[in-house]
Amino acid sequence: MGTLADLISSTLVFSVALIFAALGGVFSERSGVFNIGLEGMMTAGAFGAAIASYYMETDGGATTSSPWVGLIAGVFCGLVFALLHAYATVSLKADQTIVGVVINILAVAVTLYLVKIIFEGAGDTAQLEQVFAKWPIPLLSDIPFLGRAFFNSYPTTYIAYILVPLSSYLLFRTPFGLRLRSVGEHPGAADTVGISVTKYRYIGVLISGALAGLGGATITLTTTSNFSHSTISGQGFIAIAALIFGRWNPYGVFGAAFFFGMAQALRNFLTRFEFSQSIPTEFLYMLPYVLTLIVLAGAVGKSVRGPAAAGEPYDPSKR
């Protein structure tokens, strides 16, 4: 049992950033905007967190509040790129896939460019002293098994615990969510009842940027303690996979991201057993991806469909 609890605990380390980013994707795509740019927005978030925390440490004196400042900065940096995305796709009606690809290119390039300016040519930032430490929740962490598995983790994990139900509530129980989803399903319908498609799509994309930024910041502040070109390498795309796998639904996304994380943790976990030494390591590396494919291919028939209008710029004169 203890081992399983440890496995879950490790899973969460990997999953939480994915949960944030994929949750962001939910908002963006539910509002009708594809977001291939999650990867870039995560990169921006990881960068922002590293830089802000770094300055907090060097200029502001290392304090325990600095990772929180980093977290906020990460959100902010994600937002900056989301704003560009929203401006291009919503206001200029540019192709959403292309813009997403652009965001990915630009985010990596701009952040590394800045890192090189700030750190005199180096391709990564200094190691941070002050990052998040695991923080057992009083009482809850004492629950046998569950406590060790779920409530002895980073603050960001607890943020995820809050954001998932909160997102679900926002999307499915509030007027805001109803409107956001209507814009993603049928912008014409929303428009003709006086809902501003532009406004809600901006909101959707901006939330996705903020959450992806939060995801990137989480990676910096809980695992890598610095930022480099490889801090975010493909997690944004995995988040998109989790988004689709989780059927554009916050709880589904949580499950999918948890699954990916579990597969990663499992791979590490296997090295504990003697038999794993006889398996070529490459097969262990493949495990998470192969597992995902098998699960998806096995879930045949239930065709997955996203929001009906996602991917289409809204043009009221086009009938």
Partner: protein
């Protein structure tokens, strides 16, 4: 996705050129803000690409792989599939070619073509897997392709380590000379730049892309599925087969990219922790080129040229090479956001009233 195609089909082909100018301008401003000299940097870039025959040749070496992956992505786009998996198909093509290049011993006239064909076919099959999963198991191609990219990388590493790499090495020995697709005399002519058949086959693929898609029945059907799968189905076209065919062709293009990197450029393959990302650059190239073969060719030339030139910028003007990615990103941004160019730039020219009719 068809948006990009339309841009290029429109009379306003000047938009890409304005976008390039604006992109370079953006890069210049960013450099200026960062305290670098944009003129020196662009001068160095120009000199790097066109300075010597060697550099020019190496620029072509940089263009070739993204031309192939660009064609792969563009072709699939045309048939309604977003192939984010060109990366994996590239790796598989590369590994298969290495395998044949090392493990099979044949005379040159057959060895090289065999390695090429096997590499291409393996890329095609890897692509077909995405098509099959989509057609018969309903798996979204974006997810499956992302997963297969990683699987391809590790599978390839496994094959390399277990069968091809000598003990104590991290890369394979060089492939047999008989499997080489380098062009010796051209290499000498280009002062040692690694010239090979890649670019020529790439150009041939540009033509094949066009003819296949717009001149054959097969292509007609694939395009029909791409635009409207329901109507295509009602017209008797086998959609599932179409997905698989599309991904096979797309994968073959990407696989060829990998083939030439081994048989033409490096002659060996390395155990890598991550892919070089040519598949993802291919997406950018395809979108930049409006998913049209000629556009993709021009996109690859621009992308490859800037990328190779960026090394010179870094070397001579000490500008971080990321600046070139910023320029490339900006150019694609401006091409995609042609609305911006239209509203801001166009009044400077004369307003043209040739809006396309859409509706129904």
């Amino acid at each position: 996705m068809n948006k990009a195609a339309e841009i290029f089909n429109k009379p306003s082909t000047y938009i890409p050129f304005i976008a390039i100018v604006l992109g370079l301008l953006c890069g210049g401003i960013v450099m200026w803000i960062g305290g670098y000299d944009p003129f020196a940097a662009y001068g160095a870039l120009w000199k790097t690409v066109f300075g010597t025959k060697y550099d020019f040749g190496e620029t072509i070496v940089a263009i070739t792989p993204i031309l192939f992956t660009g064609l792969a992505v563009g072709f699939a786009f045309r048939a309604g599939i977003f192939n984010i998996g060109a990366d994996g198909q590239y790796i598989i093509g590369m590994t298969a070619a290495t395998f044949i290049g090392l493990k099979v011993h044949l005379p040159a006239f057959i060895h090289a073509p065999l390695a090429l064909i096997v590499g291409m076919l393996c890329g095609a099959l890897w692509g077909a897997l995405v098509g099959w999963l989509k057609a018969y198991r309903g798996v979204n191609e974006v997810i499956s392709a992302i997963m297969l990219n990683w699987i391809a990388l590790y599978l390839s590493n496994y094959i390399l380590r277990d069968f091809l790499v000598k003990k104590g090495e991290q890369k394979t020995p060089n492939i047999d000379d008989t499997a080489s697709l380098s062009i010796g005399w051209l290499q000498n002519f280009m002062e040692g730049a690694r010239m090979d058949w890649g670019i020529w086959i790439g150009l041939l693929c540009v033509v094949i892309f066009y003819v296949l898609l717009w001149r054959t029945k097969q292509g007609y059907e694939l395009r029909a599925v791409g635009h409207n799968a329901d109507a295509a189905k009602a017209a008797g076209i086998n959609i599932k087969a179409s997905f698989i065919k599309t991904m096979m062709i797309s994968g073959a293009f990407a696989g060829l990219g990998g083939v030439f990197s081994v048989l033409g450029v490096f002659h060996y393959q390395v155990v890598q922790a991550a892919s070089a990302g040519y598949g993802f650059d291919g997406i950018a190239v395809a979108l930049l080129g409006g998913n049209h073969p000629i556009g993709i060719l021009l996109g690859a030339i621009l992308f490859g040229g800037l990328t190779y030139g960026s090394a010179g910028m870094n070397f001579e003007a000490d500008v971080p090479s990321e600046i070139v990615r910023i320029v490339i990103g900006s150019i694609i941004f401006f091409v995609a956001s042609h609305g911006l160019i239209r509203t801001v730039i166009q009044p400077l020219f004369k307003k043209r009233k040739s809006r396309e009719r859409k509706g129904g």
